[in-house]
């Protein structure tokens, strides 16, 4: 069985790791696998996302616009067609 193919949006600050690609594609079943795949393909990127095996404090990851911290964090599962967005934590207005 082939793994779901997931599009991952990379923020500007992390693009030096992806040869400046805005969107990269990886195959993974869970967010933890996705991060490992990213590290495998783009050395150093995984380390920017995780710290002691957890998401870094100032990193937010969204699966289809939903913050993964509320849907299982690294254990969140992925399906074909899902879109993953990585963003640094910023202050909001409103």
């Amino acid at each position: 069985m082939s793994l779901p193919k997931i599009e991952v949006r990379i923020p500007t600050i992390l693009r030096p790791y992806t040869n400046n690609q805005k969107i990269v594609s990886v195959e993974a079943l869970t967010l933890a696998d996705l991060v490992s795949e990213l590290e495998k393909n783009y050395s150093g990127l995984g380390e920017r996302l995780l710290e002691n095996g957890e998401l870094r404090r100032f990193i937010n990851i969204y699966i289809n616009d939903e913050d993964v911290r509320f849907i299982g964090s690294l254990t969140a599962t992925l399906q074909a067609g899902d879109s993953v967005t990585i963003l640094p934590a910023v202050a909001g207005g409103c």
Binding site: P11, T12, I13, R48, R56, R57, F58, I59, N60, Y62, D65, E66, D67, R69, F70, I71, T85, L87, P88, A89, V90, A91, G92, G93, C94
Partner: protein
Amino acid sequence: MTKYESLEDSLGHTPLIGLAKLSPKVGNDNPPVRLWAKLEDRNPTGSIKDRTAIAMINDGEKTGKLKPGATILEPTSGNTGISLAMVAKVRGYKLICVMPENTSVERTQILEMWGAKIIYSPAAGGSNEAVRVAKELAEKNPDWVFLYQYGNPANTMAHYTGTGPEIFEDLPTITHFVAGLGTTGTLMGAGRYLREKNPEISIIAAEPRYGEVVYGLRNLDAGFIPELYDASLITRRFSVGAEDSVRRVKQLLEIEGIFAGISTGAILHAALAIAKECVDAGTGADIVFIVCDAGWKYLSTGVYGNDGDPEVLDDQLWA
């Protein structure tokens, strides 16, 4: 009661409006899924931030932090500054706002109208930069009073004692509360109150997803999480881009006649996603969402027009 001794006294008790047309249709045998809009633009200066500003100033006066004639310093993307400017004007304080340079022109015009001084922070980094610059200024100018909405418990308390109780009193059957995630004061305060009343109520955060400029931090450690934020009070959190926000804000205008600011579109987008889930699950719901402000301050962006392009918001702070 509609008679008040002063403009400030008219704070809060904003209308909660049922959205019969925008609420999703459910099958005949299923319970209704209803959307309710809390119109926070009906506050003294036209936004939910009047609650925050008045609470912080009252607290500052009570604790002695704010002395007569003092200068107040605050990082703001607009609304908090506008609210503080009005109260400062009326009560005789000076106000200095640190605001990102990439905000709508109306915000500058309104701030100046009430006599606030504006120090602009760089566009790249958005509000993070405004917070950073304001913190630096606060350190250099210890005589300025730094109210700091992102970390001031009076901000949360304004919603714990105001927004939350008002909603629960009007709609005790509320199942979901959806609000914007900025300082997090609304979600933390109203969310905590509603959870205490009924632990089953879901607290949903909608945060604006800006264009790339705003995320242009110098390094990851320049990220920012408001000191007020407590993730344990939140059930789910959605990130909503400009395109979806503008589409929803136009829908709200066209279908229900409510003219809201762009950030409300992000909140409505999350509320509609929740509504759809409830319809699909066949569960009834009373979903309350916050209308943070009206659309007047954003007309210059042009996004409300028929050919308005959400891409113009790419390099702006629109919430």
